[in-house]
Symmetry: C2
Amino acid sequence: MVTIGDVAREAGVSRSTASYALSGKRSISEEVRHRVEEAVRTLGYSPNAGARALATARTRTIGLLAQFYDDEFAPAMMQYIQGVSNVARDLGYDILLVTESDGRSALRRLTSTRMVDGIVLLNVAEHDERLPVLRAAAQPGALVGRPADCAGVDVFDLDFEEAGRQMVDHLYDLGHRQLLLVSQPEHVVERGGAYVWRLQNAAVEQARVRGIRLDTAFAPARQPEVGRAVGELLQAHPGVTGLLVNNEAAAAALPTVMHERGLTVPRDLSVIGRYSDEFARTFSLPYSAIESAPDRLGGMAVRALVRRIEGQTGHDDPHIVHYVSPELVDRGSTAAPRRRT
Amino acid sequence: MVTIGDVAREAGVSRSTASYALSGKRSISEEVRHRVEEAVRTLGYSPNAGARALATARTRTIGLLAQFYDDEFAPAMMQYIQGVSNVARDLGYDILLVTESDGRSALRRLTSTRMVDGIVLLNVAEHDERLPVLRAAAQPGALVGRPADCAGVDVFDLDFEEAGRQMVDHLYDLGHRQLLLVSQPEHVVERGGAYVWRLQNAAVEQARVRGIRLDTAFAPARQPEVGRAVGELLQAHPGVTGLLVNNEAAAAALPTVMHERGLTVPRDLSVIGRYSDEFARTFSLPYSAIESAPDRLGGMAVRALVRRIEGQTGHDDPHIVHYVSPELVDRGSTAAPRRRT
DNA sequence: CTGAAAGCGCTTACAG
DNA sequence: CTGAAAGCGCTTACAG
């Protein structure tokens, strides 16, 4: 292994000079800098990450904690990871990806051993058990998803309340008066997936404000159960003209369900979902949807995190709680209802 | 930050004794070991990863290089990553996930700075440009996917030739005499996705051996283009009674295509794919398929890699090239053909 | 069974 | 503008 000592010898300077020549942290004569760079090239030197981490107390690595729950739809997760990963790289950081089920011990391991300079948490629950660990850690943290208590971390999330209102109003404005909202499985809510009821509560309230009817239901997150469940829901709610889908698996199953029941969108039913454009493409979903912007949210979280790591955000600067405003991507799956209820 | 020095002082022993007490690398009196463990607990000590890496020349981290190509189906990738990640954790390793498009420079960065003890490569191409870098590195490497030259690395892949033969024979045995194989987009092949033509060549050859007709076609990897393409293919091949699908996106699009054309499986068409069971569930695919076993392959790669890292495999021990035998998961989508050609 | 010391490969005040 | 030295927090031969 070639070390900075080898480089220094080859260039005929001291190790400190070699180090400074490479970091640029103090002025170096043009000639020496050149000799050092030359030596680096001929020897094929690159600094040892562990040694540098030890000396600087920085690893240039970010811990990314993601969990793949059986009742959450895996393809939807992937995009958050990609968003985080891409932006991190742009900022010069690598990603330590942890997917183990015991997030608390994983988080403790990464932070207490100083493997990482900061933490990004995905699948954040209302009362996330990883949060106390994260707050106790020396490293800063950024979350995608909003917990009940946002103290001590930067938080980024879609504005699910606004999303719920927007979905209701969009259909209301078209003339719909009887709606059905299909959410993630109840189990997600119980685990603390607060966004589910955040969207739902806001939708229910908005329906009340508008004076229209909105029924709500949970549906499984796995195929093929979800398809069957959605079919049964449509059957049980014959008067519904507008369907809101806050459940990726249900959205993915919907084309088949509609086919089977001989229904056409938006002629027989207006549909509006909540998922990303990438997700829509992957599953060929022809439904208008509130864009969930996973890559954008992941990227924002990393950027805020790196700002804290690098001290551009003061240690006492207030933490951010940022809501991304929902945007409706129109794919033509909504129209005025054919029949009035 | 609490160091091993603090632990030693608290326990009233030397730093080396504290270290040995924790590592168990030499015998320690029961009493001292107890005092050290007590000190660790009261101080909340955990070793600094960078310092340990520097002293031991081991990071207990594995680099995982994955690329998300536009023309490969992202949900299919995810499972390899999960397989690698889960097994790595079981073996006590963390995963540094790299998804950047320039795999060569990423690989160089990870290996030359000694951030990782070994490398797992996904999306391996026939002439993968990352391989020369990997061979030149000090760390061992394991691949999921077989390149033309397997020297210097451990290789794990599905036996795509056997898969092709098996798919043909399965339909042949049922009485089919006119088949169509839909593969990944030609672009994947051009980039070096050799498994595509490996399966195809073997299928073509097997059809020749059996004396039956097998047409081949490429299809896009994105929705909705792939659905349209598959529909047109079925139209252009009216005599076909058996469809082989080596293209995840095409498989995912198929239910809709069949619906649109009013075709029933297996009454009007027998279908056999090549994808994982998890993938089948995610997309509700009712088609029998050769299991692509992504988690198993990923896990095998990590296990072999760790064996090399930890020196259980000698440096000169021959490298492994392991083919997983294809297994057909029967979902009832094949039957004897209704009409003879 | 235990301790004092060297060394892993960097960075960065301190001195000139 | 440059060098000698200390220090980051570990592990592990060396000595007893």
